[in-house]
């Protein structure tokens, strides 16, 4: 499904990713590593928000390197950011509706992610944890084939971590995912495959 071949990324002289190569057939791939190891950059390169310095990315046999993010989304790759990027002045419902395009599906996802009580509040008026859930809801409302989730458990309380875990497990059967985290404990419970990244290089897999 996804193939990343020899991808490197440099910011000035600073090498963030170095010859990263891996592939994903289906299921959930967990990527772990310390802060600044290059996880977020890798996801951004796959989703088109960053251009790689060299290397190529293929999705379902089509090259998506250097394609605009909105085109990559249309091919079925959706991204949820670590620091949520949502439409702050729109309601939660409107936010998800924009991604889902149909009201019924919006309601369904919001129900699953426990967003029903804040459905008609503006995104800027809800708590940080709920915003994180909203980000996930928007990502999955796109009905992607591959979801890239950057630190989905960060800044969530225990109760919401449960909600997310439940949701991911349920969707994991039909949607492939790449999930990053700097702690491996939760990741191991859902991931079928794990990669460790350190200093921009893949150092181990399990």
């Amino acid at each position: 499904m996804l193939e990343v071949i020899e991808v490197s990324k440099m910011f000035g002289r600073n090498v963030v990713l170095k010859n990263v190569t891996f592939s994903l057939k289906n299921g959930i791939l967990g990527i772990y590593g310390a802060n600044g190891s290059g996880k977020t950059t890798l996801l951004k390169i796959i989703s088109g928000f960053e251009k790689p310095s060299c290397g190529r990315v293929f999705f379902n046999g089509r090259e998506i390197t250097n394609k605009a993010p909105q085109e990559i989304v249309k091919l079925g790759v959706a991204m949820a950011f670590q620091i949520p990027r949502v439409f702050w002045n729109l309601t939660v419902h409107e936010n998800v509706l924009l991604a889902a395009r149909e009201t019924d599906y919006t309601a369904e996802i919001c129900k699953e992610l426990n967003l029903e009580d804040v459905l008609f509040k503006k995104a800027k008026e809800i708590s940080q944890g709920k915003v994180k859930l909203l980000q996930l809801a928007m990502c999955f409302a796109l009905k992607p084939k591959l979801a890239l989730l950057d630190e989905p458990f960060a800044s969530l309380d225990a109760e919401n971590v449960e909600v997310v875990l439940e949701f991911l497990k349920k969707r994991g059967s039909e949607i492939s995912m790449i999930i990053t985290a700097h702690r491996t404990k939760i990741l191991k419970t859902i991931a079928s495959q794990m990669l460790e990244i350190r200093g921009g290089k893949i150092v181990g897999s399990s």
Partner: protein
């Protein structure tokens, strides 16, 4: 709720009443009316797209000039979008000032526009249209533009425009290409401002470089500040600025500039500007 209904009724009365009054009042009302259309066009850009222009006199004035030089050129007025839109590369924070400086530049430039031996600082004579007729046209256009904006703003398409306003990157993440929506929003706003400019020229029968002056470039901002960013109250705000400055000018010189100063200072305290700001 009650207040908003009262404001709507007041606006409707202000629209209908001048039809039965004398020529002078009608002229004043017509002038306020065109500026109200102008304010509505500005408000759309600020509310739905998040770009607060302090140089909205660019589409307003350029179209008025085109119309005065040759009435057939009025069909080119939507192209004024491409004068204002490129300024958006400066980003939302610098855009207001970039557009303000550009409008001031056009103000100076307008003194040098000479066509067939006419123009310069004297300006051009515009085709003058019967006041009653133009008043009715203006009322119709104001109502239509309010309806249009209301319709667009509440559609799924309008939702996407607002999404682009809030966060372009988030919009890309859900597959929305921001550029066409931005251009579309600018085009709607600039076209309405152009119509206002043309009506203004037709009412006074004359266009001079003054159409680019800060009086016009800051007008919608001030009217919207008075109206607290709501469409109907901003229309009322336009009427307030126009009427107050006409009636009080003999006592306080250039009273509108005093209103401007107060409105600008107040606006920097209240939150009624650049709404996408409030989020982050």
């Amino acid at each position: 709720m009650l207040v908003s209904i009262a404001i709507r009724i007041l606006v409707l009365v202000l629209l209908i009443l001048p039809v039965f009054l004398d020529c002078y009042t009608k002229l004043l009302a017509a002038s306020a009316l065109t500026l109200a259309i102008f304010t509505v066009s500005w408000l759309y850009l600020e509310k739905d797209l998040g770009w607060a222009s302090l140089g909205h006199s660019i589409p307003f004035g350029v179209s008025a000039y085109l119309f005065a030089i040759n009435p057939l050129l009025l069909f080119f007025s939507p192209l004024t979008t491409f004068l204002l839109f490129p300024l958006s590369i400066f980003g939302k924070h610098t855009f207001p000032f970039a557009s303000f400086v550009f409008s001031v530049f056009l103000w100076y430039l307008a003194h040098h526009i000479v066509f067939e031996g006419k123009g310069g600082e004297e300006g051009f004579r515009a085709p003058s249209i019967n006041l009653d007729l133009i008043y009715l046209i203006s009322v119709t256009i104001l109502i239509l533009s309010c309806l249009l904006i209301w319709k667009i703003s509440n559609s799924y398409f309008g939702l996407k425009v607002k999404a682009v306003r809030d966060d372009e990157i988030a919009a890309k993440a859900i597959g929305i290409n921001s550029l066409p929506f931005k251009v579309f929003g600018f085009a709607i706003s600039c076209s309405l401002a152009s119509i206002a400019g043309i009506l203004h020229a037709a009412i006074f029968g004359h266009v001079s470089p003054g159409v680019f002056s800060p009086y016009f470039s800051l007008f919608p901002f001030v009217a919207a500040t008075i109206g607290q960013g709501k469409i109907w109250s901003s229309i009322l705000g336009s009427y307030t600025v126009v009427f107050l400055s006409w009636f009080l000018s003999p006592y306080v010189p250039e009273f509108h500039y005093a209103i401007y100063a107060v409105a600008l200072i107040l606006a920097s305290y209240t939150q009624s500007y650049a709404r996408s700001d409030r989020s982050v």
